[in-house]
């Protein structure tokens, strides 16, 4: 039984990177191109796991996370951040993000975090 993974990132390149890495897991991959898209795709698809970019225009990662958590307090969200956004990551964790990963993505780490957080 495969699950659904939602990837929220404004950069198509980053989405592609993640998709490539996660493709091997066999799960269904859904993409969202910004924060508000992310929230609506979450509501629509009820994914098992979300990879959420923290820096996005308009509705940023934090706002998107807040809305997702408000909608589903059990949501499993992994924050994608680049180095140097410590404060934002900490805030996201306080809001309820389950874990975080640093860009540029390292395939092994993405898979590690995926297997640790994906519900069985």
């Amino acid at each position: 039984m495969f699950g659904k993974i939602l990837i929220v990132d404004d950069a198509p390149f980053m989405r592609m990177m993640l998709k490539k890495i996660l493709a091997s897991s066999g799960n269904e991959l859904i993409e969202a191109a910004d924060g508000s898209d992310g929230v609506s795709k979450y509501k629509q698809h009820k994914p098992d796991l979300v990879f959420l970019d923290i820096m996005m225009p308009d509705v940023d990662g934090i706002e998107c996370l807040k809305q997702i958590m408000a909608h589903d307090s059990n949501a499993k969200v992994i924050i994608c951040s680049s180095i140097g956004q410590q404060a934002l990551v900490n805030e996201a964790i306080r809001i309820g993000a389950g874990d975080y990963i640093i860009k540029p993505f390292d395939a092994a780490k993405v898979l590690e975090i995926f297997y640790k957080n994906m519900p069985a």
Binding site: S81, Q86, N90, Y100, I113
Partner: protein
């Protein structure tokens, strides 16, 4: 270093800590022999030391500590009273233990039979149980000590200590090498853990975790009703974690907390349990060599910066700017890691003062303040002996016998106050006693009697100058040489030693009221703030602590007294020393002379130089190789940014 060596080192350091805590405990037991908490401290320290020495195979240490533990156990159970003879025996044991611990391999050669005999004798007064309360207090303690294994012995996982809130575990989390944003990682771990238990404490503190002030490892001490496996799973669930170690907690801090909760302590139960600090032990040589390497790194960095600016390489300059910041941070970190609290030497003093006072039948209260002030390890090593000497002087010459004090309307008990405090870039240590003070007239007489100066010269001295005679070589006012003042160093050596580190010493005394000795010490000796001057084509560094001011004078202002050049500054005679002459460098013969006024042995001297370049922090390289060892006048050398070497003047020995 092989494993055994490492164990030995650990044994040496840890046993020294236990000995210190036993020493402290005994001192306070002497005043308050019934304090059950202190008795327990004593008991536990002996017990731990016994376990450690048994592991190492030091049978004699084990035997002795075993018997001490037995004695303390009898005291604990109120079978015997801890009278002064018992305390004396225990002190004797500590002295012997100290010797044995110093060279544990030879500990078997020391005869401990008589001590063990004294320890196990039944002569000690047995006490009938006085009232219910003692029994209760004791029972409470016993329950605790049975529950909690002595420090250093870790109970196996899953048998955590019980407390009201559940088991206490210590979780050591090691982050993966490649982990970035470590603080966020730790936050995730802590959040996961806090969902299944109550976090009591973290090492480093949460604030440091948030500021990312930790390496790859941090510890969480947690109280939970869940088992170790569950904790481990919760922490392991987070990514980028390379290792999670869960063990039931035996660290000191929360143990103290538990004890506070359950024990009926009688009064001053604080500061009694053995301190165990979460730290890595690094030898001072290693820190020295680190410091040295950073020094070299900085020198190379400055060279690179010069090259970049000469060749106008903007890209390189930008890169170097961040390198600059990094090296500065690195230097500060290393400096900070060399700092140790002054407590480490203060701790030795209560026992010393007690012994000396008892010996001379004086009553002395030693008050220690500011033990938490930190100093560079090297400075601390250097000031130990001088402080011992100063305290001995206070006891020997300062504090009067109880009878004399009573006659003079003073409290029979004398007081010595040893204080440390931070003042800007210095640490000031003051030793103040309320003894008989120093009599300037007597000082003058002694100086004449000892042939140090003529009657006329002595008469000319001001009272302050007369008191300062005690710093002269060959001067001692002790009427009879006691066991204490007979050995050790004189005050002149103390002054030279303090001066050699770039510190200064000041003496004030009021006859009948007491004496104050003030030491001003640099925080570190690895780096000194210096005034850079040029003589001929050479650059020299003068430690800023010696410099009073600089001034420029005209050639015709120089006068000659007894063949020595001097200049009058606001009515004061300032002797001049031309560094050109001293170093045999050709002067430039200009009409205007630059003078740096320095303080030397309480008076001012003007050093004539060619150019004052400015202030700079320089890293000292010692001149301690065979060729340069004997050269006087220089405290060391430093390497300048352009790679040239500059000598650091030691004003004390230069002239």
């Amino acid at each position: 270093m092989d494993d055994m060596d490492e164990y030995k080192e650990m044994f040496a350091v840890e046993s020294a800590e236990h000995l210190q805590s036993m020493n402290d405990a005994l001192l306070s037991l002497e005043k308050d022999p019934a304090n059950s908490e202190t008795i327990n401290v004593m008991f536990r320290a002996a017990h731990t030391l016994k376990g450690m020495s048994a592991t190492m195979g030091y049978t004699n240490i084990k035997e002795l500590t075993h018997n001490m533990e037995n004695l303390m156990d009898r005291v604990r159970k109120n079978e015997i009273n801890l009278d002064s003879s018992a305390i004396d025996v225990l002190f004797e044991c500590l002295d012997t233990l100290e010797k044995m611990v110093e060279t544990p391999e030879k500990s078997s050669e020391i005869d401990i039979a008589s001590l063990i005999g004294k320890l196990s004798t039944n002569d000690y007064v047995s006490v009938p149980l006085k009232d219910e309360q003692i029994v209760q207090t004791n029972a409470a303690h016993e329950a605790i000590s049975n529950d909690i294994p002595a420090a250093g012995i870790n109970a196996p996982v899953n048998s955590g200590e019980k407390s009201e809130t559940g088991n206490i575990y210590e979780i050591t989390v090691t982050l993966h090498e490649s982990c970035m944003l470590k603080s966020a990682r730790s936050t995730v771990v802590m959040r996961n853990l806090s969902e299944i238990g109550e976090i009591i404490e973290t090492v480093p503190p949460i604030k440091d975790l948030e500021d990312e002030k930790f390496d790859r490892e941090f510890k969480v001490i947690i109280s939970t009703i869940e088992d170790a496996k569950k904790l481990e799973d919760a922490a392991k669930k987070v990514s980028e974690i390379s290792k999670v170690e869960v063990k039931s907690h035996t660290g000191s801090k929360s143990r103290e907390k538990i004890e506070e909760k359950t024990c009926v302590t009688d009064g001053n139960g604080s500061k009694t349990s053995i301190k165990s600090v979460q730290s890595v032990r690094v030898s001072i040589e290693r820190l020295d060599s680190l410091m040295n390497l950073v020094g070299e790194l900085i020198i190379n960095k400055i060279r690179l910066m010069q090259l970049a600016s000469v060749h106008k390489l903007d890209d390189l300059e930008e890169t170097l700017a961040s390198l600059n910041r990094l090296t500065n941070d690195l230097q500060e970190e290393i400096m900070a890691s060399r700092m140790v609290p002054i407590e480490q030497i203060f701790n030795r003093f209560p026992r010393m003062v007690r012994d000396l006072a008892k010996n001379q039948e004086k009553e002395i209260d030693l008050i220690l303040e500011g033990g938490d002030i930190e100093l560079d390890r090297t400075v601390l090593d250097e000031i130990g002996d001088p402080l011992v000497h100063i305290l001995r002087n206070c006891i020997d010459h300062g504090i009067e016998s109880p009878e004399v004090r009573k006659q003079n309307g003073k409290n029979e008990k004398g007081t010595i106050r040893l204080t440390a405090r931070r003042e800007k870039n210095h640490v000031v240590i003051e030793a103040v006693d309320d003894g008989k003070g120093m009599d300037p007239q007597k000082m003058r007489e002694t100086a004449v009697k000892k042939g140090l100066m003529t009657q006329e010269e002595a008469a000319k001295l001001s009272d302050t100058e007369a008191i300062n005679l005690s710093f002269m070589a060959g001067f001692s006012t002790a009427e009879k040489v006691t066991e204490i003042s007979g050995r050790g160093v004189g005050m002149d050596v103390v002054r030279t030693k303090i001066g050699g580190m770039g510190g200064s010493i000041k003496l004030e005394s009021v006859p009948g009221k007491g004496t104050m000795m003030r030491l001003k010490l640099p925080l570190t000796v690895a780096i000194i703030h210096s005034l850079m001057v040029k003589v001929g084509s050479d650059i020299y560094a003068i430690p800023i602590t010696n410099v009073i001011r600089d001034l420029s004078i005209k050639k015709e202002e120089i006068k000659t007294i007894k063949g020595e050049e001097v200049v009058l500054i606001r009515g004061d005679v300032l002797p001049l020393v031309r560094l050109h002459k001293l170093f045999d460098i050709k002067g430039n013969g200009s009409e205007e002379l630059l003078v740096v006024v320095v303080e030397r042995a309480g008076s001012n001297v003007g050093l004539v130089v060619d150019q004052v370049i400015g202030q700079q922090e320089v890293i000292i390289k010692n001149l301690d190789n065979n060729i340069l060892k004997g050269v006087k006048g220089f405290a060391g050398a430093t390497i300048l940014g352009d790679g040239n070497v500059a000598l650091i003047l030691d004003v004390g020995t230069l002239l």
